[in-house]
């Protein structure tokens, strides 16, 4: 609800009991009544605390300028340089972008595919992640247990991403564990090739890697959810499913959206998973860029990166629009 709580009346409040105090409505309203909490909060932030606000903002701002704004500017500048066989010369050109958008280029195809994969991965992560988060935060009654289970769910993150991706190969490969088991029990005659080096395999691996980015924000939001709103909904006649649909789900929209942004952005920018699980058969912009960098084609790589960033920003903006996050929920 609203931030500050008004002071509670204590049990021994005789001192301020004015017996039959007669205050006209207008007076009461003027003194206390009709002031909106937000306005009250705004009043309590005097100008003197501007310095404090500035100091709080400082570390994050410095960090963002050094490691986000500056690199992006460098990438943008380099993307307008002319590529040479050993790097680039500082001659301005828009060739790098014309190459990307030329009809012979695979870039937009790949971008579309990656975006589609990222969208699918996001949806699958949500479908798997929400029930997990709901179970941990709501169904597990003891807070200690739900946090313990949450930490256990985080356990895969204690190992490096590369190892987790790498381990998909002996699991899902043509002679990997899954195929061996399925063949042995006679469900399939020939090993399934789709399990590795395919769009499908990449998507499955991405879901496995990223699902916790969905679980985490939803879990914390569910855990902090105002239970009385849920009780109120039940009290007003809502059945379990309707409570979820009308109260729980809308109140966790922010968590869903934050999780979705994480998963979508990470899936779209991914290159390790695409390279290892896709095995060169499945392209991604990340893989392209990494290839270009190893060939010293920095301006072209920078241009591809710039377009990717723009595409991701568009994707995220669309997501947030959909979520109406600016409304607070």
């Amino acid at each position: 609800m609203t931030g500050e709580e008004p002071p509670r009346e204590t049990l021994s409040s005789e001192r301020e009991l004015p017996g039959g105090i007669a205050v006209s409505d207008a007076t009461a309203a003027e003194i206390y009544g009709e002031e909106v909490p937000a306005a009250r909060a705004a009043k309590t932030a005097p100008g003197a605390s501007k310095l404090v606000t500035f100091l709080w903002a400082l570390p994050g701002t410095v960090w963002l300028i050094l490691f986000l704004v500056a690199p992006v500017i460098v990438v943008l500048v380099v993307s307008f340089f002319t590529g040479t066989i050993t790097g680039f010369s500082k001659t301005w050109t828009t060739d790098n972008y014309t190459t990307i958008f030329s009809s012979t280029s695979q870039y937009l195809d790949t971008l579309g595919k990656v975006a589609r994969n990222a969208a699918i991965v996001t949806v699958v992560c949500l479908l798997i992640g929400y029930p997990v988060a709901y179970f941990l935060a709501v169904k597990v009654k003891k807070v200690q247990y739900s946090f313990a289970l949450f930490i256990i769910a985080l356990a895969p993150f204690f190992t490096s991403t590369l190892i987790r991706v790498e381990s998909w190969i002996p699991t899902m490969g043509e002679h990997g564990a899954v195929n061996e088991i399925l063949t042995k029990i006679g469900l399939i005659n020939h090993p399934l090739s789709i399990l590795l080096f395919s769009d499908f395999a990449v998507s499955v691996a991405l879901v496995q890697l990223l699902v916790l980015f969905m679980v985490t924000p939803i879990f914390f939001q569910l855990a902090a959810l105002d239970q009385s709103a849920i009780e109120a909904a039940r009290d007003l006649g809502a059945s379990g499913w309707k409570v979820f649909l009308h109260v729980t789900l809308p109140l966790t929209r922010a968590g869903i959206m934050i999780g979705s942004v994480f998963v979508f952005v990470l899936a779209m920018g991914d290159f390790g998973t695409y390279r290892l699980i896709g095995g060169g058969k499945v392209g991604s912009i990340g893989v392209n860029i990494s290839n270009l960098v190893s060939l010293l084609q920095y301006p072209q790589a920078a241009a591809q990166a710039a377009v990717l960033v723009v595409a991701m920003v568009i994707g995220v903006v669309l997501l947030l629009r959909f979520a109406k996050l600016e409304q607070g929920f």
Binding site: G19, A28, V36, R234, L236, H246, F329
Partner: protein, 382 residues
């Protein structure tokens, strides 16, 4: 405690509440209601009748079981044993959604993502009412609580008083038979509380349904209730009208909790025709024997209301119900003053009209004679 008596059979005060009820099973009835959490008995064998159309306040300190009772009536907790009946039919086992009760929750529990109108129309929506119909009814209710201009605002954009009105509109639109209010004024500023008390009371009279209101605030209970149910330790300590509760506290807890009582202990020294003289910790008391029979040596606890205590300068107690004390401090409360006194090791309190403030403040540190009428000495159960 004295309330143990109530475990087996409902005490006289419960009977009294019943006696005032309309005939037949109309209204809410709690029958030997008990709620046990892990190792705590929150509500201990409580029996109570609440007439339909009455305003009942459950009053007690936090942890006394009052909120648990409310939650059991609303269906948000299941009783360990006992029964809850509304108009003669048991509510136990019926989910909150299906009960003809609704709750105004502490801190209002509005839906933050819905507008005023969306909050108010929620109950009707859950009943499956058509959009047109429910929006019309919700709008009427929003009008009734005077928020039509704010109907598209969200709760965070409303003041505390406005949020309270939304909370009321949201439950009243569903036409409950019993309205349950859990500390409804907890989040409101003091002056707003005073105003909402009157509004809520008027609303209850207009609707003619039972309101069950939970609070820890004595003044709020006294000002609003038809009947007050004072609770402590999961048990009912006393049921009565505001006047009965404040003038005739049944036991030590009620006398202490309602405040402004001098609680005195002693043993019976002498029994006359219509009076018993008690040798109390502060001096001699004379109490009317009334229906009680006392014998010499009986241990007694009595209460004398602070506003029944008269003060006069002096150093000699002449008769029973006069005590010599030293004025320790005076407190100015606007329309009244409080005079705190020490009589030996014991504290005494008197409440006097404001006009005597100057006189009394001059007496600080000096002896006074505190006196009261025998009829104002109230015998307490321990």
């Amino acid at each position: 405690m004295a309330t143990q008596e109530q475990v087996g059979e409902p005490g006289p005060e419960v009977g009294e509440a019943r006696a005032n009820g309309t005939s037949g099973p109309a209204g809410l009835e709690l029958r030997r209601l008990t709620k046990q959490f892990a190792d705590v008995v929150a509500v201990d064998d409580v029996s109570l009748n609440i007439d339909s159309g009455s305003y009942v306040v459950l009053l007690g300190p936090s942890g006394c079981g009052k909120t648990t009772i409310l939650r059991m009536v609303g269906g948000h907790e299941h009783p360990t044993s006992g029964d809850i009946l509304l108009d003669g039919e048991s509510l136990v086992g019926i989910p909150p959604a299906k009960r003809p009760t609704t709750t105004v929750f502490q801190h209002f529990a509005l839906f933050p993502h819905k507008t005023v109108l969306g909050n108010v129309d929620f109950g009707l929506r859950m009943q499956g009412m058509s959009k047109q119909e429910r929006e019309k009814r919700a709008m009427d209710m929003v009008d009734l609580v005077g928020l039509s201009e704010m109907r598209f605002r969200r709760p965070s954009e409303l003041s505390g008083g406005q949020q309270q009105r939304v909370a009321l509109a949201r439950v009243l639109v569903t036409n409950p038979k019993v309205l349950l209010l859990d500390e409804p004024f907890g989040d409101l500023d003091r002056l707003l509380q005073l105003r909402m008390r009157v509004e809520l009371r008027e609303l209850q009279r207009e609707l003619g349904i039972a309101f069950v209101h939970v609070t820890h605030n004595q003044e709020e209970a006294l000002s609003m209730a038809d009947r007050i149910v004072v609770m402590e330790g999961g048990q009912i300590q006393q049921v009565g009208s505001p006047a009965e509760i404040s003038q005739r506290p049944a036991n030590v807890f009620v006398a202490a909790f309602m405040g402004d009582n001098n609680i005195l202990r002693g043993s019976v020294a002498e029994v006359n025709r219509d009076q018993a003289v008690v040798d109390a910790n502060v001096g001699h008391l004379a109490i009317p024997t009334g229906e009680h029979s006392h014998s010499v040596g009986d241990k007694l606890t009595v209460a004398v209301r602070a506003n029944c205590v008269n003060l006069a300068a002096g150093e000699q107690a002449a008769r029973p119900n006069e005590v010599v004390a030293t004025v320790a401090a005076t407190e100015y409360l606007g329309d009244t003053i409080k005079v705190h006194m020490r009589a030996g090791e014991h504290n005494l309190l008197a409440k006097l009209p404001e006009q005597r403030y100057t006189e009394m403040s001059k007496l600080v540190g000096k002896p006074v004679v505190a006196s009261w009428d025998a009829m104002n000495v109230q015998l307490l159960r321990d």
